[in-house]
């Protein structure tokens, strides 16, 4: 017992000592009117080649061109998220950003607590009151939302036109309204170009774990492909990696999400529905720097370049020119308002 106490004592001592150790260079703060930005990542963290990396890229660009000072926090499990935001807010950052819908409640709470700090939430889930009207976020909180349904619409049209099957697949992560937007747009796109096509939509689960369960994703995709589906659009984070694996195994096609996922299964990726998380993050930092930051709901769709699909040398041979032209026309129609894309199922 005494040995244990001594051991714990020594460890405690080392721990406390390390608190005072600062790496060389950390102490010197550059002078000037730099913006201090704190960013807390979503589940998955940096290196997810998708959502969080997009935010990182945007922030990185801000560091280079806007002289921003950026601090990143990668939360571990659940409760760390709020703590991460709170830490950054308490340090008096100019802008605190949470990357992912999961920060919605924490951001709203902190924004009311720290009214002098600017907050931004990517994919912030705007609340709707009992009367069906949108409850606006606090004045110092910018809700950065994407019209994923518009990009998904094009993905759906492309899947029909280039896939060669009347059955289309969709694999979602967690069964929530945010992911339903992808499904709704995709369905609408499919139906628009092929009214008698069917969409099989499946979800990996009802908890955040459903975004990182590639085993489940693979089984969902295998059963869809076996039922005659040729193209699956996934909106399921790491769970989607299983979808790519299934496509490789059966020689079928996938549509990636958030970022260009071509490298996950070269030759099997029809396209990717991309979200411009980087541009949006950069934009928010820029506005704080210029003093034009305002709270409210910001929506980025095809018209703003917030969403889109990939067409480059990797997937050119999968998409005939006629198909490409048709999809581009649909894109213009959506931007011009000739097609309205539903955002709910």
């Amino acid at each position: 017992m005494r040995k244990l106490l001594i051991l714990v004592g020594i460890l405690l001592f080392i721990h406390v000592t390390l608190l005072f150790v600062r790496p060389p260079g950390a102490a010197e703060e550059p002078e000037g009117e730099a913006v201090d930005v704190g960013i807390v990542f979503d589940v998955g963290g940096r290196g997810d080649k998708s959502f969080n990396d997009g935010a990182y890229l945007g922030a990185d660009r801000a560091v280079e061109t806007l002289d921003a000072r950026v601090r990143f926090i990668e939360p571990g499990e659940g409760s760390d998220r709020e703590a991460g935001l709170r830490l950054l807010a308490a340090e008096g950052m100019d802008l605190v950003a949470g990357i992912g819908f999961i920060f919605t409640d924490d951001l709203r709470e902190l924004a009311t607590e720290y009214p002098s700090i600017a907050f931004a939430g990517v994919d912030y889930a705007v609340q709707v009151g009992d009367d069906g009207k949108i409850i606006p976020p606090p004045a110092n909180l910018a809700a950065l939302k994407f019209r994923e349904e518009e990009g998904s619409f094009l993905a759906g049209a492309l899947a029909v036109l280039a896939g060669g099957s009347k059955r289309l697949g969709f694999v979602g992560g967690m069964d929530i309204p945010l992911i339903h937007k992808f499904e709704a747009g995709y369905r609408a796109g499919v139906k628009h170009v092929c009214p008698d096509c069917t969409v099989i939509a499946q979800y990996a689960g009802v908890t955040p774990e459903a975004f990182r369960n590639p085993g489940k994703g693979k089984e969902l995709a295998l059963s869809q492909y076996q039922s005659g589906v040729n193209v699956i659009f996934h909106a399921s984070g790491s769970t989607g990696l299983g979808v790519f694996e299934a496509a490789r195994q059966l020689g079928k096609l996938v549509i990636g999400v958030d970022a260009d996922q071509q490298s996950e299964a070269p030759g099997h990726v029809l396209t990717s529905m991309v979200k411009g998380v980087d541009a949006v993050t950069y934009d928010a930092i820029k506005r704080v720097k210029e003093g034009t930051f305002k709270g409210g709901v910001y929506s980025y769709g095809l018209a703003e370049g917030g969403v889109g699909y990939i067409y480059d040398e990797h997937n050119k041979r999968l998409i005939p020119d006629a198909v490409r032209a048709r999809v581009e026309q649909l894109k213009l129609d959506i931007i011009a308002g000739r097609i309205t894309v539903p955002s709910t199922r």
């Binding site: 990182r212 085993g215 089984e219």
Partner: protein, 293 residues
């Protein structure tokens, strides 16, 4: 969907459960609570990907995965047997430890906090026939054989008899000259190795490691053990049942006939119904969770 495809899917989903449940039965029969199955699996998954990545051989990966399971099994054993820590706390601690460690080394080795690059696995793309691809995966066979093998070890070998003895009445076993701690060490170490193989299967089937990829499968295996009344064969059947429920859920979700919320409830409802009604009273080994003095 053909019946063969359904069966193949049940088996593919059941393999990780079977490995983990086999490992869990072994440890619990020896009287050590096995909450760390999830952690063992995750460590096995990560080590397998590391091994396969650096050697290019899934067999080396398998070996690395088993060694990782052995190591964490030993950590569990040392803490709960040598230092008589509360076994439930140790189990939870190991689960949390493995989540952190895998994430740390994922960042270190592959500079990503979510997934590793693609590695070599057993099931190479057979382009078309996944049923044959599943059959060519040695881990599928190992998983299916683990349960009969465990039954044989538990009920037909002296080692199995000793495991059951120390789990039921360690004091009595000790008076008969059985070295209780040693038997428990062996059982927990083997448990870690078995459960880790479930993780290895998962990771090599995906050809990569994803942060937290076991997604609660260790706990489902634990439920299967209780459901199976700590009997290897019954626990194995429970695993297959859970896997069948999951397959059913996947298949039914595709059709529009039933609201998806109901379909997604199937595995959980089945678990509760089974535990509450169908199974006779589930009696754990008498000395479960008790350290022997």
């Amino acid at each position: 969907m053909r019946f063969v495809d359904f069966l193949a899917q049940v088996i593919r989903i059941a393999i990780p459960y079977l490995f983990a449940a086999a490992g869990g039965v072994m440890a619990e029969k020896a009287g050590v609570v096995s909450l760390a199955l999830e952690g063992f699996m995750l460590s096995g998954a990560f080590a397998a990907v590391l091994g396969s990545f650096y050697s290019g051989s899934p067999w080396i990966g398998l070996l690395c995965g088993i060694v990782a399971g052995l190591l964490f099994g030993l950590v569990h054993a040392v803490a709960s047997i040598r230092y008589r820590a509360d076994q439930i706390v140790v189990g939870i601690a190991i689960n949390l430890l493995v989540i952190g460690i895998t994430r740390f080394f994922l960042r270190l080795a592959f500079d990503s906090s979510s997934n590793s690059p693609r590695v070599a696995g057993f099931s190479e793309p057979a382009q078309g026939n996944i049923f044959l691809a599943s059959l060519s995966n040695p881990l599928v066979w190992a998983g299916l054989l683990s349960v009969p093998l465990l039954t044989w070890v538990m009920y037909r070998t002296p080692f199995g008899l000793r495991i059951r003895a120390v789990g039921e009445h360690p004091e009595a076993a000790e008076t008969l000259g059985i070295r209780v701690p040693r038997v428990r060490y062996g059982a927990v170490a083997l448990s870690g190795m078995l459960a880790a193989m479930g993780g290895v299967y998962l990771a090599l089937d995906q050809h990569q490691f994803t942060d937290g990829m076991t997604a609660g499968r260790g706990f489902i295996a634990l439920a299967a053990i209780i459901f199976g009344r700590w009997d290897p064969a019954r626990a194995g059947i429970a695993c297959l049942l859970f896997a069948a429920a999951e397959t059913l859920q996947i298949q039914l979700q595709g059709t529009q006939a039933i609201p998806s919320q109901f379909v997604q409830m199937i595995p959980y409802v089945l678990t509760i119904v089974a535990l509450a009604g169908v199974v006779k009273r589930s009696v754990p080994p008498a000395a479960l969770g008790r350290s022997a003095d």
